[in-house]
Symmetry: C2
Subunit: 133 residues, 2 copies
Amino acid sequence: MASDLDETDAFRPRFDSDGLIPAIVTDAGDGTVLMFAYMNAEALRLTQETGIVHFWSRSRARLWKKGETSGETLKAVEILTDCDQDVLQVKATPQGRGAACHTGRRSCFYRRVENGALVFVDDARLFDPGDVY
Amino acid sequence: MASDLDETDAFRPRFDSDGLIPAIVTDAGDGTVLMFAYMNAEALRLTQETGIVHFWSRSRARLWKKGETSGETLKAVEILTDCDQDVLQVKATPQGRGAACHTGRRSCFYRRVENGALVFVDDARLFDPGDVY
């Protein structure tokens, strides 16, 4: 399982066959996982150059500046990569109202699995999606 | 972007065309992102039933009980899903020496991107991979 990607200081992100790399966004403040999406090379470059998190939207098949509609942009504080450089973690500071999720919640991960069903662990909305989209 | 998956309490994980769903593992203690891998339906079922995190290894094309070789198993404390139920977050308590990464480090995310290169933010190894694999 060892790879020469493990110990190098060369950044060689491994995009998949669709040209995408998964990106986990965590809150730079307390580490909460806020959202998960994919970047292509251009989204990664724009994130690095502008300091604002960009993704590739698979559903819309286009570059996606996170928060372009809602105003809920994410300021990239630090980008980490994993051992084999096929995943990114972006530590970010939420702008706007602090709702990374399109449902108006702080995080997309607001439900836990319990006995095969979902239980809401965070049902607070920082905006009403009906007003925003 | 709204979906009926957003507000339901029915757990309907959406596996991709390969039958996989991404899983972000965080430390149940302090929230640190430890690793990222994929589960198929069986790995998810085994994780829920045994309380030990299982994945599908894409490189080895087989079920993977995390830590089966190294002893670095992960005890699943809580499973969350995201708004559209195509990603999981598993809050876990590391067992063994507490090195989730095959390099012997606590987390796979031990390097940050800086000026196009990688800088080690954690170079402490809790085991020597040469002794373990």
